[in-house]
Amino acid sequence: MELLVQLAIFALLLLVGLVFGRASEQRHFREIRRREAELRDVLVFNERRPPADRAFRQATLVVGSVVIAEDYFKRIAAGVRGFFGGRVTVYESLMDRGRREAVLRMKEQARRHGATLVFNVRFETSSLAADGGAQSTMFSAEFIAYGTALVPR
């Protein structure tokens, strides 16, 4: 009986993750695509030096960051995938989503400064998973994108 209850809870969590997790991810991706189109004119480079033949009025450090967590379905799916090996697509989409969101937030900050270019863009990803607690072993990661926003003269 107890096993049955536990199994039911497990199935419920899995379903919640699958339905709500996927819905919220798809909503997020739609929003990301819309904002990417909107911010297309803020150009981003990972080049270390801005072009020498152009003058800039202002250089400011801009940072975009976001913490994204997995849902229950992703966790189980990744566990199963970990058993067989191969591409873990549920995490690929999570990483993609986090990194694009971080870039967008960085671009938004750059635009607030009136900048049209961001140079020397760097990414940083850190996992916030290892928290020791047996209850909360869900994986979450912080994504940062930062660079120098330049306002042309």
Partner: protein, 104 residues
Amino acid sequence: MELTNLETVPGRTIVRHLGLVQGSTVRSKHLGRDFLAGLKNFVGGELRAYTELLNESRAEAIERMVAQASAAGGNAVLNVRFATSNIAAGAAEVMAYGTAVVLE
């Protein structure tokens, strides 16, 4: 105080190098916020409380780095880098470092 992660500030000349400056802060993510984050975990997605927490930490790390730079007499920090590391038991360290310089 000018902050940039470029090696120079376009259009300005570096008069003097003052060496490496850094600032860091360690914050725990288990402070009431964790309960809501735990619930959110079943659905996944952005953990806004953590995003905010880490942003605050980063602002503080930058502040400490800037304090060190101005104590050394600098007016800009170049080549700024960030590092976040998850140290034991739910605490995260956020660090900012760069080179303090005097711009003309």
